[in-house]
Symmetry: D2
Subunit: 133 residues, 4 copies
């Protein structure tokens, strides 16, 4: 691990994201993580879309999430994201999901490996590595 | 419209497919329609996967659905599907979604246009047209 | 139909919302419709969440959608929504989904029936009817 | 941890579950885990639906998943599930997701806490504990 940088994203809970327990279904936090890291990248000067167009992708190779409080329909949720460069071929994001009242709903981590458009491992583009550094 | 053929698919309602109203979220019926037409095609001797691999796709250009009764978590749902060839470039599927007790939960229709891998309109492969005929 | 009022919502396409065709999966437009009508209601002075808390719900009884152009990952999408009161027990929303370049990706309609928390048809709360009027 | 029991579930990958990378979106494995543990419970003599109706729920309090190979549209996926009783108030499920060719696509774990319908921690129903024992 060499470096870190933080950004924040806000989203509103969709009805579609709830389940019959009345709160957000657990898999949807991983969708929010994706939104959060997309915005993290944009905040740091490039987009995942451009990176893919440039021939590199960052598929998730591992995820973990701890659920502390349930999130409700129509709540305004804030996600604080940190991106970390682990090596020239691997990055990690950590996420804290805050409820509208400021308490933590969930904490998670995703690990990503850089691959080219054929799915072969590759080094992260120089420009991307600089974003993390 | 030249021809029609019917098939049936069964699936069980997932917790993920419910929402805080306690029943299946309305957009998920369109996912079930996709499952149903995939199975319809398989029942008729080929797969959508093979069709895509062969260079033709059938994106949805229109959908309509009428919701009559709600579907519950863990219910066994049966979908009766009919495929209709409208023209060499267009097909339609109609769906009836049955609850476990045999009553109708929903009825819907999807219209599809044949396109090649560049998204340009194309004629349906001969083999596919025969399936509908 | 007695009255109408318009509002606009903007959202960014999530990776999760795309499918292997490379564009947004057709069922996800219905999720966007839900986001759009939630914001329409908020723009008009109340929230669907409050309405549910007050004992009335607006389940979808019918939907139709026409797909004109595909929406891409990370595009900024704008949805123009109109709410219409059909009767004291029924409302309709119509949606136009605009791509980032201003062209129309899709057009749709949802019809809703007012029901109480037991799922029985009921009149829309006075306050809600006023929103549409 | 006192005991364990295994079951297997099979499902077919839906188009809706893929993303623009052409393979299954990572959050959808968590939906499959839900399907797998529902079937595990059914194989062991009761249903999650009945358990909820009886006043107890098993929300997820933690998840982790490791992604080894991507899963493709229309593949037949098999999930091998093991349920473990950690304590009178906590259960764990572990999952191995197999591709059609028998290789492992993913491995994961979910941890669950028993709560009553008000969301308060509670002991698992005796009948449920016996299932794990």
């Amino acid at each position: 691990m060499t470096n870190a940088a933080t950004s924040e994203t806000t989203l509103r809970v969709r009805y579609a994201e709830t389940d019959k327990m009345g709160v957000v279904y657990y898999a949807n936090y991983l969708v929010w993580f994706e939104v959060a890291r997309t915005e993290w990248l944009r905040d740091h000067g490039w987009t995942y879309r451009e990176m893919e167009a440039g021939g590199a992708m960052l598929p998730v190779i591992g995820v973990q999430c701890e659920y502390l409080r349930s999130a409700q329909y129509d709540e305004s949720i804030t996600i604080r994201t940190i991106g970390i460069l682990h090596s020239p071929v691997r990055v990690e994001f950590t996420y804290e999901v805050f409820k509208q009242d400021g308490t933590v709903a969930a904490r998670g981590t995703t690990m990503h490996a850089a691959v080219d458009l054929n799915g072969k491992p590759c080094r992260l583009p120089e420009k991307v590595r600089e974003v993390f550094a």
